[in-house]
Symmetry: C2
């Protein structure tokens, strides 16, 4: 008999849901609002004994376990949060927002989406509007993860999280990918293939991500006992054209790299195209790793491109959990960097 | 003296705003809510005479002209609308949502963003949640413009617009790009360059857009007095790899195209790469036009790619205007297709 087998006294389940049951499932099956379900499962709130019992019975039937997060949500007043984004393109923001929205929707919290497109006046107007809606929390996101002025002024105690963006206030919670760690993953991987002349072609140095990835590149070289060869680090722009140009000039010299770590997938795509046209074999002569794991680039590249994934969906889910925690009174803060992962494809395959 | 010169009796303006003044500017400068400003500028609503006068004075000072749309907005109750999207990637949805949100924000209407990722159960949950928030209107958008079941059930009279998506209810308002017209633009342009052997490489035929673009290709050929050559129309998938494969097989035959209209920019990018590797000059021997005008593809292509732009931001702005109109009681409906435009770059340049 297994430990988790039901005892003979357990009633048979009468309602079931797919996946882990949420407060929303309880509310739906008990035919009450999410707010009522939350009250019924927590000590507080005025409810009839019948309603409380009905909700608790449904919760038992579907195996709903009110965790700390869900229990705290009776503090959410409007059950809305706002996202202010400065990412008019959306490639980085979208997976974050998608996962955040999915996480919050499961708790019955709706998301106002505002696009401020780097215009402080529009940001202020959006903020006014969101505060007028009495949002329970605020998420700030951006096209790039660099520091920005703190958003505000905000009412005391309003939870705010910066995701793929950081406030100049060190106490604010900022969730960011670990750019330096991602670069270490890429370069360690290339070194583990026996490559010893590893170049780094990257974007503009006024991006913090560029400086952090360069730092990871250097520390991983040192950890592998490798020298950084002069001229093998090149900063340019985030484009395929720059990748093509940089490879052409790098390979015009006698001492050629046997591996290239690129600061994004577009640079890597350009690098691969020029290597191909120069008749240099990838990964035979030169192994290549990109950054972003953007399928539009990695899968169309010849050969398909290994890349570092910033796990933006996981960052969005964590932002959702953190916001729920903070709405419930939890105190979170500081710049927190989350691990990237390496996706190996043919450009650095065996 | 110009007709619109102020008469000597006009007081000098005391408050100014950048751009066309909106109800939001009036509210801000009069230090009242947008709802109050709206009431003060319309006949209805209970307000003190002082407040009404203050708002009207600000409106005069900044030259605010309450148009039909803005006047109708006193009917908006919650000043929120919902967007339900099925576009988890966001490339097509994002410009639409961005422009829509910008248009509505100017009227003080906030946007709830819900991602249903093609899951009818999640869509239903999102809809329940939005209706619980008493939204004033609903926008449905998608990753592809094909017909879908109407969303619902909805409360009587709730304005709903499908953008880059269409309901199977022909009375619902669906705003779509004119795919057929876009194809006509592309093929007429190629014919105007003197090209007579124009091929069409495109995506899967279960997309309505593929069938409409094929139809535009054929009618533009006919209009130019050209024959469709057997084997010159090829349907595959939306990828660079398909563009490469299709060009390799198309150019392996003796009768070669002198122009290619591609169903999207990724197919066109693959086509350009293979033409380049075969030593075929673009646009000298073969002119190429893509579809989507996606800068990631068009600008990195060699040579830069001419393409058809679906003007998705304009579609988003129009959706915003239409929704405001409908919230105010306007009746709009039917499938409406808006023009695409041609952006000529070097791949079909002189």
């Amino acid at each position: 008999m297994k430990d988790d087998a039901p005892t003979p006294l357990d009633p048979p389940p009468r309602a079931t849901v797919a996946g882990t049951p949420t407060i929303r499932d309880v509310a739906r099956l008990a035919n009450v609002s999410i707010g009522t379900a939350s009250k019924a499962l927590n000590a507080g709130g005025r409810l009839s004994a019948e309603t409380r019992e009905k909700v608790q019975q449904v919760a038992r039937e579907i195996g709903y376990r009110p965790n700390d997060l869900a229990q705290s949500l009776h503090r959410a007043k409007s059950r809305t949060i706002g996202i202010i984004s400065n990412d008019s393109f959306g490639r980085f923001t979208f997976p974050i927002v998608e996962a955040l929205e999915e996480r919050l929707a499961a708790e019955g919290i709706a998301v106002f989406m505002c696009n401020a497109t780097d215009d402080p006046e529009r940001e202020r107007q959006h903020l006014d509007q969101l505060l007028g809606k009495r949002i329970d929390g605020l998420v700030v996101t951006a096209r790039r993860a660099d520091k920005r002025p703190s958003i505000g002024p905000l009412p005391d105690g309003l939870p705010v999280i910066y995701v793929f963006s950081q406030a100049d206030d060190p106490h604010a919670l900022s969730l960011l990918p670990d750019d330096e760690g991602g670069a270490v993953l890429a370069v360690s991987h290339l070194a583990s293939l026996g490559r010893t002349r590893i170049a780094h072609l990257t974007g503009p140095e006024h991006f913090e991500a560029v400086r952090l990835r360069q730092s990871g590149y250097r520390s991983a070289l040192a950890a592998a006992g490798l020298q950084e060869i002069e001229g093998f680090y090149r900063s340019g722009v985030w484009s395929e054209a720059w990748g093509r140009e940089a490879v052409a000039s790098l390979f015009a010299k006698p001492e050629r790299p046997d591996a290239i770590f690129c600061g994004n997938d577009q640079i890597a795509r350009g690098a691969l195209d020029t290597l191909r046209e120069m008749g240099i074999s990838v990964p035979g002569d030169v192994a290549v790793v990109g950054f972003d794991n953007w399928d539009v680039m990695t899968l169309a590249a010849r050969p398909p491109l290994s890349s570092i994934d910033m796990n933006l969906k996981a960052l969005g889910r964590e932002a959702g959990n953190s916001l729920i925690n903070m709405i419930g009174g939890g105190k979170l803060g500081g710049v927190q960097r989350r691990p990237c992962s390496l996706v190996v494809r043919q450009s650095s395959g065996a």
